[in-house]
């Protein structure tokens, strides 16, 4: 698309760089209604950051009513490690009075409040912020013309932000045309009209609040991609060789299955929308049995429905990848909030002794790589592998180095080669390797795959000794995997006061918290577990180097005062030094919550957010 003539030439911003203050990274919170398209422009900002070799992380809320409603989208972008979407905003854009009122206290003192003066009357007494009123609604209507009403406000704001932060207008134009390219010319034109109007806001009206990002560190060579956790995971599955799967919709898992359904065809694969989660697990296991690397998944309630099928997969030793995009529980719970409360179920949810593998990705990039790892383990150990991601990761946008697909991509096809006379599906001394249908067996004796306890050929047995041996076989292969895992790296102090142990999406906030804690003189280390079952080796030695081990997780403290991972670690190591920092408010950890939690446990006073926060704007 050719950009409309009104658009300023790329790079030539109306103010020169020296009139602008340099910033390293910035947290911008857009607060409006979900109908206003704030996710769209938030997404543009994130994508832009990615294309500019910046780091970026986003955070959004989903309105609780079906027809939409109040919603926020927060973007943190800039240089250096961006590990969380930020506790407090540097810039707040308030579309409505309710947006202003609900979010003004998340703006840090000294931050910039931009409000739509057509809708918002800020408290004139409140001098904590620099307030900039712009008639966003009126100006948009004026710029775009009456028929579209105030549609386009979001692009007006994007233009405004581009002006304030001297963003790359050409790149944004590219993003807009990519996004609306399929639609009518009108739509693209209107979008650009609104954008340009925002961009044209006179500097005077901005009270001198103009900034320029510092140049990013030299890029890693590979281009950055910008995406959310569910998409990263989905493409990770495809890279891992998944061509078949089945699921049933549920928030926030749904976008994984939607993407697989629309993408797998290109790879010759099939994704089935089943009648329920039990059927979905059945389809996936049928695909797996037939020789493919297959996936099924869901969120909490759907996982509860898959417990019987997963038990069968353990007994039958069937490779399978199972995704749980965790949300607030129990039961229907808080479907659009985040929680890490399905860990115990992932490990122990099926009846009987049914050992299986559980992994969790730490950020959006890791969603991609953890899928590859799950595929590797499922195939190598002929076992179901559960991936526990969560609602926060699912919808969060981050930028990361494009993976080297040529090196990483796996394409396991069904192995139909004839099997020799020594073939047994369940040898006692080797890991199970199934012969899919289509593979002939030299003996002419075909194997059974069974959920009953069975002998080496898969035939049912009630023999006590065999049940003991087969139980051991299923256990020992998982132990062998555990022994082969890398020892987790300790970040921060290698020994000292506190070791913070986390898993899943809390990685970023914990890492930032560790930085802040060390800055105030605490000796703190961090390990983050990706392998939750089996656990990696040598944790005991690492734990021994710290006075306290504090497990930080988003779930309940339980009857005995310990979160779910803490419970597992205590059971394995029986170290009284292992304690818990948990919460169940359905929100991601704020850095200050972790910092204060640690300081409190060290007998020091918590800070009130007033600690070592690097100044930005």
């Amino acid at each position: 698309m050719v950009l409309p003539a009104t658009t300023p030439t790329p790079g030539a911003s109306p103010e020169s760089a020296k009139e602008r203050r340099a910033v390293n990274d910035v947290v911008i919170r857009l607060a409006g209604n979900s109908q206003d398209g704030i996710q769209t422009i938030g997404g543009f900002l994130a994508r832009l950051a990615g294309r500019s070799d910046q780091e970026v992380m986003t955070y959004m809320t989903i309105p609780s009513t079906i027809s939409g409603g109040p919603s926020i989208f927060q973007v943190r972008m800039g240089n250096g490690d961006i590990l969380s979407s930020g506790d407090q905003a540097d810039v707040l854009v308030a579309f409505y009075q309710h947006s202003y009122e609900s979010h003004i206290n998340s703006l840090r003192p000294g931050g910039v409040l931009i409000y739509d003066s057509d809708h918002v009357a800020p408290n004139p007494e409140d001098r904590r912020f620099r307030a900039i009123g712009i008639p966003i609604t009126g100006a948009t209507v004026e710029a775009v013309g009456g028929s579209s009403k105030d549609k386009g406000k979001n692009l007006f704001v994007l233009g405004l932000l581009a002006r304030i932060f001297s963003l790359d207008v050409a790149k944004i134009g590219g993003l807009i045309s990519e996004r609306f390219g399929g639609k009518s010319e009108d739509i693209v034109r209107n979008a650009m009209l609104a954008f340009d109007a925002g961009y044209a806001t006179p500097a005077d009206n901005l009270h001198d609040c103009l900034y320029q990002f510092e140049a990013p560190a030299v890029s890693g060579g590979r281009p950055q991609i910008t995406t959310d956790g569910n998409l990263a995971l989905t493409y990770g599955l495809i890279a891992a060789g998944v061509r078949h799967g089945a699921g049933y919709p549920i928030t926030p898992w749904t976008t994984v299955m939607e993407t697989l359904r629309s993408e797998l065809g290109k790879y010759g694969g099939i994704f089935v929308q089943a009648e329920d989660e039990l059927a979905a697990a059945g389809y996936a296991l049928g695909f797996a049995y037939s020789g493919h690397l297959a996936v099924t998944g869901s969120s909490g309630p759907g996982l509860s429905l898959k417990m019987e099928a997963l038990g069968w997969a353990v007994m039958a030793e069937m490779p399978l990848i199972v995704i749980n995009v965790q949300r607030g529980g129990p039961s229907t719970g808080l479907p659009t909030n985040v929680e890490q409360s399905d860990l115990m179920q992932a490990i122990y949810g099926s009846h009987g002794d049914a050992p299986r593998v559980v992994l969790a990705p730490k950020d959006v990039e890791d969603c991609f790589y953890v899928a590859l790892e799950a595929g590797r383990i499922a195939r190598k150990y002929s076992t179901p592998v559960l991936i526990l991601t969560d609602q926060a990761l699912a919808t969060r946008i981050e930028a990361f180095d494009e993976p080297d697909l040529a090196k990483l991509m796996v394409d396991p096809k069904p192995d139909l080669s004839p099997r020799g006379a020594d073939f047994e599906p369940y040898p006692l001394d080797k890991i199970t390797r199934h012969a899919p249908p289509g593979a002939s067996i030299a003996t002419g004796k075909y194997p059974s795959v069974s959920g009953l306890e069975h002998d080496e050929l898969g035939h049912p047995t009630g023999n006590p000794a065999l049940h003991m041996k087969m139980t051991a076989k299923r256990r020992e292969k998982i132990k062998a995997l555990g022994a082969s895992l890398p020892v987790p790296e300790v970040f921060g102090d290698p020994e000292g006061d506190v070791l913070i142990v986390g898993w899943g999406s809390t990685w970023g906030p914990i890492r930032e918290a560790v930085g802040q804690l060390r800055a105030v003189g605490t000796r703190v280390g961090q390990i983050h577990l990706r392998n939750l079952h089996p656990l990696p080796p040598s944790l005991e030695e690492i734990f021994a180097r710290f006075k306290k081990v504090l497990v930080v997780e988003m779930n309940d403290e339980g009857l005995y005062g310990f979160g779910q991972l803490a419970t597992l670690l205590r059971a394995r190591y029986s170290l009284p030094s292992i304690g818990s920092l948990t919460k169940t408010d359905g929100l991601t950890f704020r850095i200050s919550e972790i910092v204060n939690g640690v300081l409190q446990r060290l007998g020091r006073a918590g800070t009130d957010g007033g600690y070592a926060k690097p100044s930005r704007i």
Partner: protein, 315 residues
């Protein structure tokens, strides 16, 4: 299940020896002596002998129940899955591998009680496989509880004074499910049963045969009304020949869903034969069509190229 799916060429180059009953026989069945299921197994051997599929391309699947022990008694690739869920599993195998022949066996409890919904949805999707329901009007493996086909008044351990819940009508349920081949037979009528199973196997799409198979242990004599030598009647369905004769109008048109539903409402013991048959496209074909369309769009790029292009769009 269709015989038309092309068998993938497998490794061996030696000419195939014909598939015999002997090669197909596995463990001795653990069924009670006299159980109707033995006859069903014998028919299955006969059908496989007729069809002469490559041995390694046959899959025998089941859920849980006496009847569902089937896979252990047939020497083919076999799966013993969980109670009531064999159909989604089998559908996964069928969709995953168009070169294999998928046969599912199970009981009335497995198929109509816990598994009832999967029947309907596998049916409407018309997944290419053959499903044989060995209906004995009772839960055999768990030793005599009421099943969804037990007639009112049947005295079981869960209805000691006689069952009170109206049973389902298996044929009406199957006709309504969307299955594209629906037939009914009796384990005592070996030739008829074999014919029905063979027709089902040769049908492309989701084919189901309900076979009345007596549980001699817990419901002896359940099907005597359909056994001529016990004074019963085994009435078979005459299918329309489209020969233009006036008699022909009275014969059953198996493509007529409503007629099939009406036929299924005949009083016990009803009629036997093909109730319904149509050739709606299978999900296997429809999914293959989606793949072909998608590949056309990507110009059959390699998997790596497709994924790389996707990542480029995320830059």
């Amino acid at each position: 299940m269709s015989s038309s799916s092309a068998a993938l060429a497998t490794a061996g180059t030696a000419p195939r020896v014909p598939l015999t009953k002997k090669a197909l026989t596995a463990d001795h069945p653990t069924w009670c002596p006299g159980c109707g299921d033995f006859a069903v197994l014998a028919s299955y051997y006969r059908v496989l002998e007729k069809l002469q599929y490559p041995h390694e391309n046959i899959v025998t699947l089941a859920g849980i129940g006496c009847s569902s022990r089937f896979p252990y008694f047939v020497n083919t690739h076999g799966v013993h899955y969980i109670h009531g869920r064999s159909l989604p599993f089998a559908a996964g195998v069928s969709l995953g591998r168009d070169d294999v022949h998928v046969f599912v066996f199970g009981g009335d409890g497995d198929g109509f009680s816990i598994g009832g919904n999967h029947l309907v949805h596998t049916g409407r999707k018309n997944v290419n496989l053959t499903y044989v329901i060995m209906d004995n009007f009772v839960y055999g493996l768990t030793k005599k509880q009421t099943s969804p086909t037990s007639p009112i008044g049947f005295k079981s351990k869960t209805d000691p004074t006689g069952s009170i819940d109206q049973p389902i009508n298996p044929m009406q349920t199957l006709v309504n499910s969307g299955a594209t081949f629906v037939a009914r037979s009796h384990a005592g009528q070996v030739n008829h049963m074999t014919e029905m199973m063979e027709r089902a196997a040769r049908h492309e799409g989701f084919s189901v045969v309900e076979i009345l198979s007596e549980c001699v242990e817990f419901y002896e004599g359940a099907f005597d009304a359909a056994v001529p030598r016990k004074g019963g009647q085994f009435r078979t369905i005459e299918l329309r020949k489209n020969d233009g004769t006036p008699e022909d109008a009275l014969r059953h048109d198996p493509s007529d869903e409503v007629a099939a539903f009406r036929l299924a409402s005949e009083p016990w013991p009803g009629v036997f034969g093909v109730f319904y048959e149509s050739n709606r496209p299978t999900k296997n074909k429809l999914e293959a069509g989606l793949i072909a369309k998608a590949r056309e769009k990507t110009k059959s790029a390699s998997d790596l190229e497709v994924l790389q292009a996707t990542f480029r769009r995320m830059r």
